[in-house]
Amino acid sequence: MTDLNYEATTSTPQVDGCWETGVLEMRGDSYPEHSYRFFVPVLDWVARRLADGEVPLVVELHLLYMNTSSVKSMMDLFDMLEEAHAHGHPVSVSWYYDPENERIAELATEFKEDYTFPFEVLRRGA
């Protein structure tokens, strides 16, 4: 199947999904005007990757600012991971933050609190 590659823009993050390794990476700001158009292909890719075999899905996030619809889309993504986890599919999230931006760590932790799959909030460069 195919990899996912989006270049970053001023309002959307860079997205790289590697089909073979199951690693999905997102970095940058996310406040697209057309959030649906942006996130649906990403969520579709994740759904297809989860449905196809036992390759662990590893999500690595280096996200900064997000608008409301991006927050919601990320929760949709995590919901999918939670469901896969409940069915025994190995999934994990690592959310990296810059030591100069501790608030991102607080926000990532807030996202994390409802989920039971492995979800780490990691200080970059630590």
């Binding site: 406040y31 005007e33 057309h34 959030s35 649906y36 158009r37 600012y65 997000m66 608008n67 409301t68 619809s69 927050v71 919601k72 889309s73 929760m75 949709d76 608030r103 991102i104 607080e106 926000l107 807030e110 996202f111 409802d114």
Partner: protein, 264 residues
């Protein structure tokens, strides 16, 4: 684009639900309303409505066991989205405020920079017109600054500018605004102040800079400034007043420095 039509219809239904006072105080309505407002603020074209669709359906469900469980989940999920995005917005606002201060500030003197002063000048000019009252401005130039730089180096030149900035601010009234206009030149805006009064302030500026004070500068340096003052009438262009102040400043320099001259 056909797929969005359904959402537009849904949007109308949600707007109708939100407008109905019968559901006021309902937690789902409150959450839905906040989210709906967010989308209006953030997106020019509302397209991301699947969550709103679920929420709306949940709000419409009959109160069965299953429905109320699903309903509770929906409300708490919506509240979480709003809570997190509130925090993001606060973080963003704090960062923007810092950026705005940095963008308006001169790095050396920490006074407002030229860009900020230009905006203030335009604003003051608009205010003068609105209230039909003049204001004044003063261009302040450090005397022999080039000589200080050449003889003692840029480090001492910077210290001289910093000391001048402090002396100017100490002599101004609380509502006057002083900024670094460029190089060794400062601009002072004096709101609702006619020319002769502004000249009085400008003389105070000269005195404040040249009076003996605790200083990091070499003893051989005696700081002074020359000042050109101009009144800007309610119907005059601020650029014109700036040009007049510049001519007056030139006269003050030519007349021996360490003095202020009122244009016209």
């Amino acid at each position: 684009m056909a797929p969005w039509r359904k959402d537009e219809h849904l949007l109308h239904q949600i707007a109708t639900l939100l407008a109905d006072p019968q559901h006021d105080g309902h937690p789902m309505k409150t959450a839905l309303s906040l989210l709906y407002q967010r989308f209006l603020e953030e997106t020019s074209q509302i397209e991301r409505l699947t969550e709103l669709a679920d929420a709306y359906q949940a709000a419409q469900l009959e109160a069965s066991e299953e429905a109320s469980e699903r309903y509770r989940r929906q409300v708490s999920r919506l509240q979480k989205v709003i809570r997190i995005s509130d925090q993001y917005q606060q973080a963003m606002r704090a960062e923007n405020a810092t950026l705005a201060v940095t963008a308006a500030c001169d790095a050396l003197t920490e006074l407002p920079n030229r860009r900020f002063m230009s905006e203030r000048l335009a604003a003051e000019s608009a205010r003068a017109l609105r209230f039909d009252k003049p204001f004044s401005l003063a261009l302040v130039d450090v005397d022999n600054f080039k000589g200080i730089n050449d003889r003692h180096g840029h480090g001492v030149g910077d210290a001289a500018l910093l000391q001048t900035a402090r002396s100017l601010c100490a002599a101004l009234r609380a509502y006057d605004i002083c900024g670094r206009w460029g190089g060794d030149e400062f601009l002072v805006i004096m709101p609702e102040t006619p020319g002769p009064d502004a000249l009085g302030i400008a003389l105070r500026l000269c005195q404040s800079v040249s009076s003996p004070q605790e200083s990091e500068l070499p003893r051989s340096i005696r700081l002074s400034v020359s000042v050109g003052v101009a009144e800007c009438g309610p119907h005059s262009a601020p650029e014109e007043a700036l040009a007049e102040a510049d001519r007056a400043l030139y006269q003050a320099k030519a007349a021996g420095r360490n003095q202020a001259i009122l244009a016209g």
